[in-house]
């Protein structure tokens, strides 16, 4: 279950990192990716396991 939260952060964090590597925006995309990923992960968890 917590897997979704971690997956979300990992996947979108890495995507953010890739974007940052391409565009050199000083790490901002990584932060955005991690936060968005965490949000999506929690959303997924609630959808899958919530009532």
């Amino acid at each position: 279950m917590v897997g979704y939260l971690i997956s979300g952060i990992a996947v979108w964090g890495v995507i953010g990192w890739l974007v940052d590597r391409g565009l050199h925006w000083g790490g901002i995309p990584i932060a955005v990716g991690v936060l968005v990923g965490a949000g999506l992960g929690i959303y997924l968890m609630l959808k899958r396991f919530g009532t």
Partner: protein
């Protein structure tokens, strides 16, 4: 004991390192073709087969001690894991789950048996193999039950989610179901057994190191270190069985999501 000589010679293998987990070939060969781990895996398999054969050789209505233990192990996997997690059709997975449970439990317990004191599962290859079997199994059953397209769709796409959110979620779901599940499954078992072995080494060898210290005020502390090593051994016994349970529990939980009709 020869350990006493070891203390004075001052060549205690300190600090413990990953080399502990790459034992040499038992027949003196160059490659890792037949190491202590190979021997232990075969030993575990033999022990499990012999135990269950002997326990069920002459089954009675009122089971004897051995039959009772064997039936408890199988019953636990069949009723409390397979049926409760997967549902009624989970019973057909009970043989696999029970085998997995006993194999992991026995190989884990090797880590605290005096004279053996290391588990094959503290080497990533063995948990990885077990995780791959589970991975293939739940994907196979998902495809067999729903067909490839529907299984992938069901695994990746949640019902009633706003369309603009779907692309963001599909990436996470894909990573979770097809990439992270087998990796975390293997890593969890491996890391627990690896860390347990390292911690035991630190306290046991550390005790010898303290005993070998020149200062007589420090020497007695080695007893504390060994006492802790014994306590941690009991904790390890608990972790060994718990990790076997967790592995089987997660395997059946993954099977359940593969077999489920609609979420």
């Amino acid at each position: 004991m020869s350990r006493a000589a070891l203390v004075h010679s001052g060549d205690i293998p300190w600090p413990p390192s990953v080399h502990e987990f790459f034992p040499p070939d038992l027949f003196g060969g160059n490659g890792p073709w037949f190491t202590k781990f190979t021997l232990l895996v075969w030993l575990a398999v033999a022990l499990i087969i012999v135990f269950f054969l002997v326990a069920y050789r002459d089954p009675k209505m009122v089971p004897g001690k051995m039959q009772w233990i064997a039936e408890s192990i199988y019953g636990f996997n069949r009723n409390d894991i397979a049926r409760d997690v997967i549902g009624h059709e989970g019973i057909k997975f009970a043989p696999y789950l029970a085998t997995l449970f006993t194999f992991i439990a026995v190989t884990n317990i090797f880590s605290i048996i005096p004279g053996i004191q290391i588990s094959p599962n503290s080497h990533i290859a063995f948990p990885a193999m077990l995780a791959i079997i589970t991975y293939v199994l739940y994907i196979y059953w998902g495809i067999r039950r729903h067909g490839f397209g529907k299984f992938v769709k069901q695994s990746l796409i949640l019902p009633d989610v706003p369309w603009w959110l779907l692309p963001l979620l599909i990436v996470i779901e894909f990573a979770q179901v097809f990439v992270f599940r087998p990796i975390t499954l293997a890593l969890r078992l491996f890391a627990n057994m690896f860390a347990g072995h390292i911690v035991l080494l630190v306290f046991t060898l550390g005790g010898f190191l303290i005993a070998g210290a020149g200062n007589w005020f420090i020497k007695p502390i080695s007893v504390v270190s060994w006492a802790l090593a014994i306590l941690i051994t009991f904790l390890e016994a608990l972790i060994c069985l718990l990790q076997a349970y967790v592995f089987v529990m997660l395997t059946s939980s993954y099977l359940q999501t593969s077999l489920a009709e609609e979420h």
